[in-house]
């Protein structure tokens, strides 16, 4: 049994914090511990930031944050129609050196914090980042 929640957010920087608060509250209600809530919050916020950064042509357009809660996990998809990008061009940020580069950190952080991450991007259409976090079984 799962519950589905859908948010539609204008692609503006000032609303990323609002999504962060909403997702924290949702993950907390779903029974995740403080550290997992923080991981989910950061990952979703990074996905939203990605939309806002890369969706420049039409910032007014909304993107969707769809959440599915239940069955011991939370699944969150951040879906935009901002034109997509070529995933083949994504390069893991170079961090193990004395001169790290700006940028490219967002997807890297999402992958590090969530249990499963799937990214679909279609050039000319948009991008979907689907993330799953499981409730830890004690």
């Amino acid at each position: 049994m799962t519950d589905i929640l859908k948010f539609s957010i204008p692609g503006k920087p000032e609303y990323v914090g609002t999504v962060r608060l909403a997702i924290s509250s949702l993950a907390n209600c779903a029974g995740f511990d403080i550290e997992a809530v923080e991981d989910i919050k950061v990952a979703v916020s990074e996905a939203c930031t990605n939309v806002v950064c890369h969706g420049k042509p039409n910032r007014e357009e909304c993107y969707e944050v769809d959440c599915e809660v239940g069955d011991g996990r939370i699944t969150i998809s951040v879906v935009d129609r901002a034109g997509g990008y070529d995933m083949a061009n994504y390069q893991r940020p170079v961090l193990d050196c004395d001169c790290p580069k700006e940028g490219g950190l967002g997807l890297f952080i999402i992958k590090a914090l969530m249990d499963e991450v799937d990214i679909f991007s279609e050039i000319g259409m948009g991008t979907s980042i689907k993330m799953v976090k499981y409730l830890s079984r004690i």
């Binding site: 920087p13 000032e14 990323v16 914090g17 609002t18 962060r20 608060l21 923080e38 950061v42 916020s45 990074e46 930031t49 806002v52 950064c53 940020p93 961090l95 193990d96 004395d98 001169c99 790290p100 580069k101 700006e102 940028g103 950190l105 967002g106 890297f108 952080i109 590090a112 914090l113």
Partner: protein, 105 residues
């Protein structure tokens, strides 16, 4: 969900001491960039970023700090993060930025 910044120059230690309170994300990162650049342009010296009261930083905020780190490297100055909270320590560790930006975190 805002960011408050305060800076002062420590003449004894020849360094900037900049306190960041609140959250650094895509909406507030430009404010941090402007502040860091402003201080460094006024006086080229090391910058200590005091993070005791910073609740949140994301990749855009880390990007701003990396950018400042790169620009300061040319004149052999450093930017150091002091007292980050556990959630921020985790991000710094994941990204390996703790190795270059922290001396004690």
């Amino acid at each position: 969900m805002s960011l408050q910044l305060q800076s002062s120059y420590n003449n004894e230690l020849d360094q900037w001491e900049l306190t960041a309170k609140g959250e650094v994300d895509i909406s507030t990162a430009p404010q941090l960039r402007k502040y860091l650049d402003g201080a460094y342009q006024e006086k080229k010296a090391d910058i200590l970023l005091l993070l005791d009261e910073l609740n949140y930083i994301d990749s855009t905020g880390l990007g701003v700090i990396i950018g400042a780190f790169g620009r300061m490297q040319e004149s052999e100055n450093r930017i150091k993060l002091v007292n980050p909270r556990d959630n921020i320590k985790k991000l710094l560790s994941i990204t390996s930025l703790d190795r270059i930006l922290c001396s004690d975190c």
